[in-house]
């Protein structure tokens, strides 16, 4: 009896220094599988489609519900989360690759440190520590809170950086995600007190100006964050900020 199977072509790599190679797998189909449960099946029985025993495919995962950002990979050419990539919706053979915009650690696992470095660079936080209790912050208007909430859904998954043609080894562009976080923290009434610092940070090397408006980020973001709206809004803010910097301002 022939059993229904799922075919995979996986781009693997043993270590950051070694060359990538492809390996094919064919595993039994189960209803409602996603890419992660398929990878778990390969891990349970690491045999490739030629019947040879191999090392289990290595990948990262955590929440399994598209809120942590750990399981990003390139699936059939598109960067996305593997936890929400349902096998029934994918064309076979399913091609899995690591997001090569980032350093590959092993197989499908990548190192997203550059994103966290970028968040530090743009000061994506709200300083609230003082020598005394600063008390409650001002209230936020509800309509503003609603769109700011959308921006806060960013899980630093790296999909927008992988999709962006201007984030690559030839450019030092920090990518859309940290830019949108600047808009989020500048929108907060307390965060707005450090607005100029953040705007000046993204006016530095590899900052906002490196965006080329391909708008792949907004098409690819698994959380549907309006990244290009954030970028355009920051373009407006930095235009004003650059005039303030040049001519001087008491704001």
């Amino acid at each position: 009896m022939s059993q229904k199977t799922v075919k995979f072509i996986i781009t693997r790599q043993n270590s950051p220094e070694t060359a990538p190679y492809q390996e094919e797998f064919e595993i039994p189909y189960r209803p409602n599988m996603n890419v992660i449960s398929a990878l778990m099946e390969i891990r349970r029985n690491p045999v490739n489609s030629k019947g040879e025993a191999t090392t289990p495919v290595y990948w990262e995962m955590n929440c399994l519900e598209e809120v942590c950002g750990a399981c990003s990979m390139v699936i059939n050419g598109k960067p996305r989360q593997s936890c929400t990539a349902l096998i029934d919706n994918l064309e076979q053979p399913i091609r899995l690759e690591p997001m090569k915009t980032f350093p590959v650690v092993r197989d499908l696992a990548i190192d997203r440190s550059r994103m966290f470095d970028a968040l530090k660079r743009v000061k994506a936080w709200i300083p609230i520590d003082g020598t005394y209790d600063l008390g409650e912050g001002p209230r936020m208007p509800e309509p503003k809170r609603q769109w700011a909430y959308e921006l806060s859904k960013c899980m630093t998954c790296g999909v927008c950086l992988e999709a962006c043609p201007n984030v690559n080894s030839k450019s030092d562009f920090i990518g859309p995600a940290p830019l949108s976080q600047v808009r989020l923290f500048n929108a907060h009434p307390t965060g707005a007190m450090n607005k100029a610092e953040r705007l000046n940070a993204i006016m530095g090397e590899g900052g906002l100006a490196s965006c080329g408006n391909s708008q792949n980020c907004v098409q690819s973001c698994p959380k549907g964050i309006p990244l290009t709206t954030s970028i355009a809004s920051l373009n407006r803010e930095t235009t004003i900020q650059s005039f303030r910097n040049f001519f001087g301002s008491d704001k």
């Binding site: 598109k78 043609p165 490196s210 391909s214 792949n216 355009a232 373009n235 235009t239 650059s242």
Partner: protein, 203 residues
């Protein structure tokens, strides 16, 4: 100023593409359009432009220097992109690629065009008039080169207008960016019709 050279150069690149280079393109296409009214009209219009006061200063300040900066920095922008329309074939990603492709074509075309008309005129090898263009366009190969060059140029200008409005924060919301897409594509079509008619007026 806290903003880096990167930020300043990129914004300058965006600005110069529209003011003054884009505006010059509009003037240039308008003046050339006199060719559709016959050789006499065209020669009269060219003669007027040729005899503008401070012409050489105007040319350097409003055309050559801004254009050179825009072109050289533009090439740098082209080479820092890693295009991926094969994997992510979204409309704006295609426009992103086309903007770069037409930019390079426009640069090559302009280098040839400036040599063939302005520099040869400055060297006294040709007169600036209807016959000069008529001679150039008497070769079918040159007609094709001019059609490709001019259409690339007007596309690059129209789509560049779209990204200029985003880069300076004029169009922020998705709706405003969609409306400006329609607007700039109408600009492209209008300029394309004008410039193609002009080319055929010389044949």
């Amino acid at each position: 100023m806290a903003g880096s050279r990167d930020f300043f150069n990129r914004r300058l690149h965006s600005l110069l593409g529209v003011i003054p280079v884009g505006l010059f393109l509009l003037v240039h296409l308008t003046v050339n359009h006199f060719a559709t009214r016959g050789a006499g009209s065209f020669n009269k219009a060219v003669n007027f432009m040729e005899n503008l006061p401070f012409l050489i200063v105007l040319e350097f300040l409003l055309i050559y220097l801004p254009l050179l900066f825009h072109a050289i920095y533009g090439l740098y922008i082209v080479f820092t992109a890693k295009n991926n329309v094969g994997r992510l074939s979204y409309f704006r990603n295609w426009m992103f690629l086309l903007q770069r492709v037409t930019g390079v074509i426009t640069l090559i075309f302009l280098a040839w065009h400036v040599w063939e008309t302005r520099i040869r005129y400055a060297l006294g090898q040709t007169e600036l008039n209807y016959d000069m263009m008529h001679d150039i366009l008497s070769s079918p190969v040159m007609v094709v080169i001019y059609l490709i060059g001019v259409l690339s140029t007007v596309f690059h200008f129209a789509n560049g207008l779209w990204s200029f409005m985003v880069s300076w924060g004029l169009t922020v919301s998705p709706r405003s960016q969609r409306v400006s897409t329609y607007f700039t594509m109408i600009v492209f079509l209008a300029l394309a019709i004008i410039s193609v008619r002009t080319i055929f007026a010389f044949i």
